[in-house]
């Protein structure tokens, strides 16, 4: 079966909520049913076929073409299957995702992979603020799964993150890993100011020495046995993180945030 493909006809002026177009909600629907689904856009409702030309049948494999930065909530609470997006996406990509795979061949907006529970999200471009974070007011961000960003990430990566792995090949903005409860964030590029701010537990694995808050304390240089195992788990990814040359086990360890419970760590490659 060919992938169910939605090709955007024209760019609507208002943002569009694409949350109905996930594999589990489309499974079993006929092409006419899918065409008749309504999407929220501003105060209007737009039929799917008004916005997209639809081709293919396989609801486990969804492709969105000509996507742009106002298509929000793509892959919301995805529980199965695969969504591939050609172009940029809006905010809330993979919000609360439970399983499956999302690949974006473009940039993502705010709150990508936010409150994600399981599965794999790959963003081949840049991503906005609050990657893998909690929604405003919520106390728990990403709870599992893996996010790979090939470009740069915005501010507040992994805010309130609880479990899972975020891999960033480029740079991360300010407050990377802020208020983290646990989990792992790895950044190959540079990080902004206040890295690890109010971090409780969890690991920030950095290739470059960050600007840390004064409430992080130096714990010295160490060889950590879990690092090669962590890198080994990235080996299947199409990423610089999979490169055997990227593997290291020698790090400088900074503990903090001592203004919080202080069980977090920032590991900087030596």
């Amino acid at each position: 079966m060919t992938a169910l493909t939605f090709t955007l006809k024209q760019r609507p002026a208002q943002r569009v909520d694409l949350s109905p177009l996930v594999c589990q909600k489309l499974a079993g629907l006929s092409p006419t049913d899918i065409a008749a689904l309504e999407l929220d856009s501003g105060k209007r409702k737009i039929r799917v076929d008004e916005l997209f030309t639809i081709a293919g049948y396989d609801t486990q494999q969804i492709v969105i073409k000509n996507s742009y930065a106002k298509l929000d909530f793509i892959g919301k609470e995805l529980t199965e299957g695969e969504i591939r997006i050609e172009g940029d996406v809006g905010s809330y990509l993979g919000l609360g995702m439970k399983s499956g795979t999302i690949t974006v061949n473009g940039n993502a907006g705010l709150f990508a992979a936010c409150e994600m529970k399981k599965g794999f999200v790959q963003i081949n471009g840049n991503t906005g603020d609050f990657l893998g974070a909690a929604l405003p007011g919520n106390k728990m961000g990403m709870k599992g799964g893996t996010v790979l960003v090939k470009g740069n990430a915005g501010e507040r990566v992994g805010d309130h993150m609880r479990r899972g792995v975020i891999l960033i090949e480029g740079n991360a903005g300010d407050y990377c890993g802020s208020r983290m409860t646990a989990g792992t964030i790895a950044v190959m590029g540079k990080t902004g100011r206040y890295t690890g701010f109010a971090m409780r537990r969890g690991t920030l694995l950095l290739w470059n020495k960050p600007e840390l808050p004064a409430t992080f304390n130096d714990c010295g240089s160490h060889t950590l046995a879990f690092l090669p195992m962590l890198f080994a788990s990235f080996r299947s990814f199409d990423s610089k993180f999979a490169d055997p040359a990227a593997v290291f086990n020698r790090v400088r360890r900074y503990g903090g945030d001592m203004a919080e419970m202080g069980r977090g760590e920032v590991l900087v490659r030596l």
Binding site: F226, M229, A232, S233
Partner: protein
């Protein structure tokens, strides 16, 4: 009657019991220290009668076979029940692996019944322990004085078979021991089995019951060479020494294989090296559901 290289194979069988088993992988900076830790962990674990479990080193692992890419040793522990197994695993891991310099501890077997490996040892970290889920498996990093103790949270528990055995009857003690050493060397090459007694060999085989009410088992007088004249003996006059090899394995087939190569190694030495007979220990076939018929195994 079956005779191999002058060695008579008795028409009898070894009787074995269902047990619960687990496997763990110990790694360290080098093989020497992985082995030291493994030896400590599998120490005092010859028989469930008084040790609580039977444990042994299965084999040395190449760095390419271990989760963290360091030299390692795989150990197996067998117990009569799942609870006892879990308790033995935890106390042994805590006292013998956690304490051992540079060690790390990983699951060595998968099953749908996980039992705690480092899951509770983490509390040694006094709140400084760190959990990492890597590739779907949970690991604990416990800060210790030499750095960090890395351990997988759980390992698997599987149904297994314990108590496979055979007896080597020889004309002298040195000849019996030499034959058993040859057998153990071959049997250690078989995966999924351990020979839990010292060096794999037991010289004090037992029978069920005793004249003393407090004891459930006592010396197997029918195979004691010094009692040939005064008890209902199983030994012919020329036998001067008997030694036993006990095998625990994950399946009956694993024990079959180990017994076959072990008995073959003994028979290869043959009558010219003083080996006269191979026999086996059983309880009349009423107690254990697994029967290893020597002649069938060697057929």
């Amino acid at each position: 009657m079956m005779i191999i290289n002058g060695v008579t194979i008795d028409k009898t069988f070894a009787e074995a019991f269902p047990m619960k088993a687990t496997r763990a992988i110990i790694t360290a900076q080098n093989e020497k220290w992985a082995m030291i830790s493994a030896q400590a962990m599998t120490g005092f674990a010859t028989s469930v009668i008084a040790c609580g479990c039977e444990a042994g080193i299965e084999r040395v692992l190449d760095p390419s076979e271990t989760p963290d890419g360091r030299p390692g040793v795989s150990v197996m522990i067998f117990a009569m029940g799942g609870k006892g197994l879990a308790k033995q695993l935890e106390t042994r891991a805590g006292q013998c692996v956690l304490t051992s310099p540079t060690s790390a501890l990983f699951a060595g077997i998968e099953s749908d019944k996980p039992i705690p490996l480092g899951k509770n040892l983490r509390y040694f970290g006094d709140g400084f322990q760190i959990s990492k889920v890597i590739g779907g498996k949970r690991y604990w990093r416990v800060p210790v004085m030499d750095g960090e103790f890395l351990t997988e949270a759980t390992t698997g528990q599987v149904d297994a078979v314990g108590g496979g055995n055979f007896l080597v009857l020889a004309e002298s003690q040195p000849q019996a021991l030499a034959a058993c050493e040859a057998a153990i060397e071959e049997m250690r090459k078989i995966p999924n089995v351990i020979m839990p007694f010292p060096g794999g060999v037991v010289r004090s085989g037992s029978k069920v019951g005793s004249k003393y009410k407090a004891l459930g088992a006592s010396t197997n007088d029918a195979f004691c060479p010094t009692l040939k004249g005064i008890t209902k003996t199983d030994l012919s006059p020329e036998i001067e020494s008997v030694m036993e090899i006990v095998i625990d394995g994950l399946t009956k087939e694993d024990i079959d294989k180990a017994m076959r190569v072990g008995i073959q190694a003994v028979c290869d030495l043959g009558a010219e090296n003083g080996i006269k007979r191979i026999s086996a220990g059983n309880y009349g076939g009423k107690l254990g559901p697994f029967h290893f018929h020597l002649q069938e195994i060697m057929a």
